[in-house]
Every structure is written in structure tokens, then in C-alpha cells.
Symmetry: C2
Subunit: 324 residues, 2 copies
């Protein structure tokens, strides 16, 4: 990258530049050089956020800096990985110092919280778009893949579902429930918290895991498909905040907690005899978990209402190209 | 990523999906899992190419697939790293099967040539933009950083300089030299060849290295700055193809080989007593090298014509934000 590109990155992203001693060489050469602990595997994920597709062009840049890193750390959490190093490819229409300062603050504060160091990047001119790649590691053989779910495993989720979808709906001008307070849920859309601590604790406990970026139906569907199993969801057990519960109760609108996406909670499967251990961890981390269903032999996913009737999804999760 | 995003990537990029046995888990889970050889450091680089900025919107997609990987592998070459794993973040206005098939062919053929496996990615809808991150490794402590050049080291470059700039000039409709044949040089613009083999051989020989993406002046400038030294270039020793030599001779136009960029040759510094070893390697790899100058104590870079007069640069290399 050219000199002023380097200057640009260094100027706004220098704060987290020396927080890890396994970075042999960080920003400023052709490549970064990193030391992986012996006996560990490297874990890599990448996500792109595009203006007008993944976020509103007028989004708070500090929240955007947070979110673009958070969605990648969420993928590391879903593998049970310890986050370590991140690169940032930033395409900007122009250099706006205030925007960059706010963006880098949101990015850097979250990076620091999880001990993540920015080790490289690229700045280019073009339509606003951000690609982050996050690297972490875990003891060899300990990853939480999608493919390990077994019949009779419990299906669990962290936190609550549907709040980000409700905030998006509010920003799009849709009707809102009476109990809705934008401040309560907009944080869930704009500043999702990656469940890193829970992901680390679930190693050796969960049989499969995924982060809920596209909605529980779509993401649990990935686990079922990769594991070659089916499952049952007990809709009455879904963890819902009061406004989401109100929408569901008024309209039988299960697509909000099941398919709206952007929650960045973890969904994982667990032998029932290990549930108590996870409940202890949940208490220690102050992160609620809910048992929302059970893995079954066969294929497909049934969603049962409390009265035993089945709810049929009309959605399969957010898909950028489904309507092209 | 959602199901059909995964399908999209898998459909067009499945060919190189199983060529490395150090990939524990490739495309299809939350993250990829990779095994780094013991005693090695991880080497990471990332570059973004944006339509209308880095390439013409109507560029041959097969050439684009080649180039976006080549520019990243070139960074690994400049560190002396063995390339291994790559991710691809592809932002597309729409799904165009023919375009994707050609793009993936250019990408995959180059990946296969260097034993590189695609281990993850993200496809999103938006203005055409491509971010590639390449990962490789090298024995701990053997990286070719920019900071190791010493006074009296020779300054060397591989291949020839200015051909990509000449091809770009032709595509922009500028006057061309009489000996110019578009076919001769357009390959150098559209399909640069990363100097991986030379980079690996230079470990333990070169004192500093960089790939020439922004022009020799700018990139050698990075070595001088990082190493705290100055240097002298003998312009008559620059390796030039006949049409580039003709432009230079007619117009004293040294900015073409020195500052036009996109050459993706290696520039490296070398103790003069090691020159013979590099010449032997050059012969074995059939990749010419030229000694174009010498590192000096102090700061700054003097460019001397054959008659001893100094040439003054008006350019400092390509910079995406210099004119914002």
C-alpha cells in the first residue's frame, strides 16, 4: 500500500497497535508476521458490510466500527476460538476525518476489550464498503463445528432473539408494539456483543455451534444439515424481550425472533447431561441461555407452538442474492 | 453467510477446495481451521480492488480473477513466504454466471499453480469490489522485512519495469511508441506473475525486500525509510522492455519505469558478495535480475542518468487519496 494509505491507517488505527506480544511485525510492511501458540489451530473468518445493504449510509460511524468487528468476532465465538488478530479493508468515497475518527473509536474499543490487534489493512477509494478478516486460535481438535449435533441433544441459544430485527423494522418506519422503546433494542442492532466468553467455555461441552446472523431457522438449519439430523423447536421457550414477545403475541409473528437475523447470539447443541455445567457458566458470565428444542433423527425442523400446533416459516433467513 | 451465498461460492470456487492437507476445515462452517507447521510464523496480507479505481469495469473477468490473487501473492513473495490459504470477499451488483465462471477460472488457475487453497469468503451485493486476504508461512525469523538494508548493499529488481504502466497508458488512449505492441505488455498489466519462487530463494540472502506495486521510487522509498538509509539509482541499469526503453529515450520519461506502478516485480537489497548466488538462482528460475543501484548512508534517493546528471521525480507513486 502507498505511503499515505499507510499514514491514513496508522493515524486512525494506531491505538491497538501493540497489545499482543505474538505480533512479530504489524502494520507497515508487505505483510504481518504472527506467532501461533504450539498445538493450536489457526481460525479464520471474513465478512463484508456494504453501505445501503448491511447498514444505512447515515449510520453512526462509531457503531459501524463496532459492528463490522463484532460480526467477525461472533464467527470466532461460534468456533470456540480465542480472537487475536484482525485486518481491515476500508473502501471510502473520500477521507472524512470526523467519520474516520468515530469509526476507528468504535472498532478499537471493541478490539481492545477482547485483546484483538489490528495487524494490517488496505484503504481504497470507492463506494463505502468494509471487509474485516478476524484470526484467532484454539487447541487443535477443540473447534465447535456445525457438524457434531446428535439426536437427543438439546438446542440452546444465548441472550434473546428478535431485538435487532425489531430495531431494523422501526428504522424502516414499520408499526411498533406499545412497549417498544427504540433505546432498548437499537443497541442490539447497532452494537451486537460477540459471545466470545461463552464460545470459549463451550469447548468440550457443546456438540455443535453457530452464531445467529441470519435468523435461528436458517442458522440452526446449517447445523442440522451439516450434522445430518433433524430437530424440534418449542416456540414457547424462545427467549424474547418484552417488545418482541408483544409482537409475537399480537400477530403470531414468529418470523421476527426466528428469521429476522442480526442477533449474533450463539445457537449450540448439547447432551442433556451437560446442561447443568452450561447453566453454571451462564451464571458466571451473566449471559442467559435458553433450551429451545431438541435434535432428532431424520431431517427437517418442526416449530411447535405451546398448544402443540405447528408454525410454518415463510422465510429462510436473510439472503443477499435470493431476490436478484 | 446464508445458504445460497455458500452455494454461490461453492459452485464457482469448488475446484481448489481440497489441495492442502493442512486445512482442517475449509469453506462451509463459521470459520476455517488451519494447521501452521511447527517453528513457522504466519504471514498475512490483504488488498482490495475496486471497479473504476483499480480496474476498468469491462475488464476481462478471468484476468481480474488472476490479478486480485496475484497482487496478494506478490506481497507474500516480498516477505519470502510460502503461500498457503486465501479468502475472497466478493461484492457484486448481481449474479452473472458467465462473469463468475470466468473470474473463478482466473483465480483458481493461479491458486493451483502456487498450491493455494480458498478457505473462506463472503459474497455480498453492492458495487463491484474484491478483497482478498492471503496467508502463508515461513520459518520463524526468516522474513524479508523492509527494514534490513545496509549502506553498500546492492539494490536489485526482478524482471522489467514500466510495461504495466505502458499498457495502462495505451488503454487510456495516450500516444504510444512505434515499437509498442499491445499484446506484448497488456499481460504485464492484467496478469502480473507473483515472484513467489524468487521470494523463497531470497530468504537468508536479501537484507530487505518489497514488491513494486506503486513504482520503484515509492516502494524503494519504503525500504530506505524503514531501514534508515539513503540510496542511488543508476537509471541506465533499469531493466526496460524495448517499448518502455523507446518512451524513455524519446522523452527522458523515467517516470514510466520508476513511478507508473503495477509491475509486481520484487525490489531487494543484497550484500555485494552474495550477488553471484542470486545470479545462479536467477538463471535457475529463468527470472532476470538487474542491479540498479546501491544503498548509501544518510537519507534520500538520487536518480543518476548515464551522463552523471540527476533526474528529479515529479511523482511519488500511485496514491488513492493523494488527490482527494
Amino acid at each position: 500500500m502507498a505511503l499515505s494509505e499507510f499514514d491514513l491507517i496508522r493515524r486512525y488505527f494506531s491505538e491497538p497497535s501493540a497489545i499482543r506480544d505474538d505480533v512479530v511485525l504489524g502494520i507497515g510492511d508487505d505483510c504481518a508476521l504472527l506467532q501461533l501458540p504450539p498445538g493450536h489451530e489457526l481460525v479464520v473468518t471474513v465478512d463484508t458490510l456494504v453501505s445501503g445493504v448491511h447498514f444505512f449510509p447515515d449510520v453512526d460511524p462509531e457503531a459501524l466500527g463496532h459492528k463490522v468487528l463484532a460480526v467477525n468476532l461472533s464467527d470466532l465465538a461460534a468456533m470456540g476460538a480465542q480472537p487475536a488478530w484482525v485486518t481491515l479493508a476500508l473502501t471510502l468515497p473520500a477521507v472524512d476525518s470526523n467519520w474516520l475518527a468515530a469509526f476507528s473509536k468504535g472498532f478499537s474499543v471493541l478490539a481492545k476489550r477482547y485483546g484483538v490487534q489490528l495487524i494490517g489493512g488496505d484503504t481504497t477509494r470507492g463506494p463505502l464498503s468494509i471487509t474485516v478478516q478476524a484470526q484467532g486460535f484454539l487447541p487443535s481438535g477443540s473447534a465447535l463445528a456445525r457438524s457434531g449435533a446428535h439426536p437427543d441433544d438439546l438446542i440452546c441459544v444465548t441472550g434473546s432473539l428478535g431485538d435487532a430485527g425489531l430495531a431494523l423494522s422501526a428504522k424502516q418506519g414499520h408499526r411498533l408494539p406499545k412497549t417498544f422503546d427504540l433505546r432498548d433494542v437499537v443497541q442490539r442492532l447497532e452494537r451486537p456483543e460477540p459471545r466470545i466468553g461463552m464460545g470459549l467455555e463451550l469447548r468440550g461441552l457443546a456438540t455443535a455451534a453457530i452464531d445467529i446472523s441470519d435468523g435461528l431457522l436458517a442458522d440452526l438449519g446449517h447445523i442440522l444439515q451439516a450434522s445430518g439430523v433433524g430437530g424440534r423447536l418449542d416456540l414457547s421457550q424462545l427467549p424474547l424481550s418484552p417488545p418482541v414477545a408483544e409482537v409475537v403475541a399480537e400477530t403470531d409473528g414468529w418470523s421476527l425472533p426466528l428469521a429476522a437475523g442480526d442477533d449474533y447470539e450463539l445457537c449450540f447443541t448439547l447432551p442433556s447431561k451437560r446442561l447443568h455445567e452450561v447453566e453454571v457458566i451462564s451464571g458466571r458470565l451473566a449471559l442467559p441461555i435458553a433450551v429451545v428444542g431438541r435434535i432428532e433423527a431424520g431431517t427437517g425442523l418442526r416449530c411447535e407452538r405451546e398448544n402443540g400446533t405447528l408454525w410454518q416459516s415463510q422465510f429462510a433467513g436473510f439472503d443477499h442474492f435470493a431476490d436478484v
